[in-house]
């Protein structure tokens, strides 16, 4: 009733509307054919989606072709907090006697290690010589025993053994409980 009131009140410039579904009289003709458009969208959408997929694949290929990033070795990079100069140790400079003593000790050590190495190599040579002699005698005895002896022992390697510790294991020792949380950073290329 409000519409009819308005149409009667205003001068004859505004055209009267039949119903409020019509947004304007000019679009009357356009509204009906617009509902026929969805049929065209069905063809465009798969093509658009296909084009999108192709673009994504091209991007992925480009990324893969780029060289993989190097994994940083954490041991070779000094964390910045240790480069601070306030951390430098302040010690008195070494005296002349101290440096002399160190140099002489290093020379003695050199000699010691050289003798030790030579003795080890000599021991290995005697070991090998003794084994060769034994195999020679065995060959003189019987060929088949010799062949059995020089065959490879498959069960020998991998050979595992726990090394010696400073004190022997304490019988009945109960180690304290603790939890170990592994915080190593794992990088993937």
């Amino acid at each position: 009733c409000l519409f009819s009131f308005l149409s009667s009140w205003l001068p004859q410039m505004v055209p009267s509307r039949g119903s409020h579904w019509q947004s304007s009289l000019l679009t009357l003709r356009a509204s009906l054919p617009m509902r026929a458009q969805p049929k065209k969208k069905k063809k465009v959408d798969p093509r658009r989606e296909q084009a999108q997929k192709d673009r994504m694949k091209k991007k992925i290929k480009k990324l893969e072709k780029a060289a993989p990033e190097m994994i940083p070795i954490e041991d070779f990079v000094t964390p910045p907090k240790y480069l601070d100069s306030s951390r430098v140790r302040s010690l008195p400079p070494l005296s002349f006697e101290e440096t002399e003593r160190r140099v002489l000790l290093m020379k003695k050590w050199c000699l010691f290690k050289q003798k030790q190495d030579k003795a080890e190599k000599q021991a290995i040579q005697t070991l090998i010589a003794a084994q060769q002699e034994a195999l020679k005698e065995l060959r003189l005895e019987s060929e088949e025993l010799y062949q059995a002896a020089i065959r490879r022992d498959e069960g020998l390697f991998p050979f595992e053994r726990e090394g010696p510790s400073y004190t022997p294991p304490l019988p009945g020792y109960d180690p304290p409980e603790g939890k170990c949380v592994d915080i190593t950073k794992v990088y993937t290329q």
Binding site: L127, Q131, E141, A148, P164, P168, P169
Partner: protein
């Protein structure tokens, strides 16, 4: 194949080694060098977080003493754990731990039949065997029987003296050494000139030998003590394949 039977009798012997369980003591040069390396490492290093904390706390303590207890609102109410206290606590914990002794009772009694002595060197098994009409201390040996390899003979020798349930790892199929000897003229014949003893090496895996020891006369000795028991020629050949 009908080869003429060789005049040598074959024996397989097993040298069973118990590997060391503790580290050998450092020699004088090694100790001096170790001390020097520690000193150099200390000189080249920077302060760690713990040390910086310690230095700062010492500074604070000093300043508080110099300022003659002006700021009393800090110290008594807060229970701050100082780095020094932490160090002392750790020291106490270390001292309260008692490790097993490196020199065991068997060492002190010189009980050569026990496996618990000389934990820092290799121990070898020696048994008393009757050869001819003599009782000798030898590495356990047994005569070779046709149909088995020499390694099998050596393993049989080990089993004869220690029982079946020992866990030993034999190092390979080849013998490590040989001892050849001729019988005394009285027993020597055309077919039976002498004997060849082939030595094999094995590492003892388990330290528990409670089910073992069929014969009473056995010893576990180190390389240096071998000379007390073995004859000179035999000892010479055995020493060649033993590393110390």
């Amino acid at each position: 194949t009908a080869a003429a039977p060789r005049p040598w009798r074959l024996f397989g012997a097993m040298c069973l080694l118990r590997l060391p369980r503790i580290t050998q003591p450092l020699q004088k040069e090694e100790e001096e060098m170790a001390a020097l390396m520690e000193q150099i490492e200390l000189e080249k290093s920077h302060y760690s977080d713990h040390e910086i904390r310690k230095l700062q706390e010492e500074e604070q303590l000093r300043r508080r003493k110099e300022s003659a207890y002006d700021d009393e609102d800090e110290a008594p109410s807060k229970m701050v754990i100082m780095a020094q206290d932490l160090e002392e606590k750790w020291e106490q914990k270390l001292l309260s731990f008692k490790a097993a002794p490196r020199i065991t009772d068997a060492d002190k009694n010189n009980n050569r039949t026990s496996l618990n002595r000389k934990l820092d060197s290799n121990l070898m098994l020696l048994v008393k065997q009757k050869i001819g009409n003599q009782e000798l201390w030898l590495l356990p040996q047994v005569e070779w029987q046709p149909g088995e390899t020499l390694r099998g003979t050596a393993e049989r020798a080990m089993a004869t003296f220690l029982g079946d349930h020992i866990q030993a790892k034999v190092l390979g199929n080849a013998p490590y050494g040989i001892y050849k000897y001729k019988f005394p003229r009285a027993i020597r014949t055309e077919d039976n000139v002498g004997a060849k003893v082939f030595f094999f090496k094995a590492f003892l895996q388990s330290s528990d030998l409670s089910q073992a020891e069929l014969k009473e006369d056995y010893l576990w000795v180190t390389k240096d003590e071998l000379g007390d028991y073995l004859k000179s020629e035999y000892l010479k050949k055995v020493n060649r394949f033993l590393l110390d």
